[in-house]
Amino acid sequence: MNRAAHVPIFRPNEFLWTHDPERCARCKRCVQQCGFKAITWEDGPVADPAKCVGCHRCEAFCPQHAITIRPNPQYLRPHPLWSDAHRRNLWLQAETGGVLLTGMGCDLPYPILWDHLVLDACQVTNPSIDPLREPMELRTFLGRKPDQVEVSSDSSAAELAAPNLQVDTPILFAAMSYGSISLNAQKAIAMAATECGVMWNTGEGGLHADLKPYGHRAFVQCASGRFGVHRDYLNAGAAIEIKIGQGAKPGIGGHLPGEKVSQAVSETRMIPLGTDALSPAPQHDIYSIEDLRQLIYALKEATDYRKPVSVKIAAVHNVAAIASGIVRAGADIVYLDGFRGGTGAAPTIIRDHLGIPVEIAIAVVDQQLRDEGIRSQASIIAAGGIRSSADVAKAIALGADAVAVGTGALLALGCTLCQRCYTGKCSWGITTQDPALTRRLDPYLGSQRLINLINAWSAELEEILGAMGVNAVESLRGSRERLRAVGLDKTTCDILGVKPAGVGA
């Protein structure tokens, strides 16, 4: 090599991997557990810090608690403009000339509006309700509501009503495809959704034969790649979702690399083994609301109008007008995905800088649909950064009918948010198709953790409703009067339709 042409690049490690030889039981479990093959055995575990992604799998499985993973302490001269991440990314791009990839949701410190919204509670004059004693209604119906119902002696009127999904609690699982996540992970989610009476979502990866029994609790997606989409697939789901966009990557298509297209993934997506699965952006048959309407009704015709059709979009600047068009195009559900939503793979620059917060999107879409008198024609599902039952309650108060949880569900399955989903090496067996890794995730145990999560959040939601003095989530829906803002400017308050804290009724 021409030494003059070789420019040494400093690529500092993100993590320090340390190990206490005194405690080490020499079991080599850490070596086996690392999906990234960062640890080797040289008379003791030796980690290559350049390969460590900080997923903590080795640490969690060390029986002696001998391993500690810490952030690499300050190694670069601090600079207010040039953060460590900016410098690290720039060096990597100078070396490779490539687009940076990442996984999960935006990790930049934009203001989190959930944390500037507080909920109302009852005191003295308006009694609260004790959910331990009183029945609480979390049941939610998703879909177009009839303008009027004519009751006749036979059941013909009921049959004319648009199909609705009945969910026992307004907390659903977000769209995550088989391919982006392992079959065991998707199965855990599907089982939990069925047990909890909520919905899961196939994403654009088809419906694996093993998951057909859970189809009656599934949104089956139809997106630009049409992966696994056929007549029986559409009929196997409880609802159909047209995916236009995703919060983590608005305006960007999907791209499952050929390495992840295993035999089973190829069968489920109905594509050849090992080819790239490209979901183009946009859908090249949809350039307008009229075109979208055409696909909505193509899907309704294919399923004899028995399935609600949802349209999923990323929350972007013009989201209110777009959502209005979606409803007028005939969608029964609008799925809003905020810019903090997760992804199996996205260009970092897209994930971190495009789109708007879902809090804003819910408020402006709900308001627009109300102003136009069409709010009852579609339900709103909100996703992209729902972290707790408090976020669920706030989303519903802002105007959502239900929320969908993706990142939270993966956390419940063991994910530690290392953001390396796109590598396919997930040590926790979630975002990988490597059989040695996927078998680490037991779908039955995983589903129990997800069931626990849904049950816990639902119980908390009941507590919140009780404290607010209402006994049905329906009474909270779109009730922005029960929200107050803390530390938000007037413009943002106006957009959210929320008064500042301190202002009474």
Partner: protein, 245 residues
Amino acid sequence: MRIDAANLHYRELNHQVRQAVAAGETSFELVNVNGQRYIADGIQGAVALDVHGVPGNDLGAFMDGPTVTVHGNAQDAAANTMNAGRIIVHGHAGDVLGYGMRGGQLLVRGNVGYRVGIHMKAYRDRFPVLVAGGVAGDFLGEYMAGGALIVLGLGRRPADPLVGDWCGTGMHGGVIYLRGEVDPAYVAARFVAVRPADDSDKELMRPYLKAFASAFKLDAAELLDHHFLRIAPISHRPFGAKYAA
């Protein structure tokens, strides 16, 4: 079964067809069709539909098995995500034909519009084929992932190109055959390679051109005995090297 589609909304027309198919009817004659969308959408099995008039968009969408014969022109998005079956169009057909088509055949006697064969894909024994008797518009075979697109250019004026701009953009599977020559400027050289079709290519085309010839009373040998170009992707992973390691 004969259905007079005059003044029938597509929802009513398609409902009647679905009901009859569910009851075991396998042969339909739809007359006075005038723009009704979604004909044969999601219909499964050995069903034959003869369409007289001009069917609307999304003819045969999600269709899985039937044979549809259109005695007239067809509009946009025919054979959308079609799984199996055959659509025969005796006139011209519009834009976005065969989007995400996974199997079966779409045979068009005349010209086809823009964005034909987007993301067509093959899977196991399924191999979708779209034959255009005339010429095709821009973006033929965009993101194509499998199957075959064949453009014959029959009866075209010398000045008419066989295909429009950006042929094969994003193509990563399947094959396009053009009967005649094409200016290289029309082809997306970043994604595809062009060479003359050889004997094995003609063997691949033979059954489809036979089907085309028999549908439109043409001579298959005459169709095949001609110079063809073969356009195929350079890579099955066109964006593999785009990202930083």
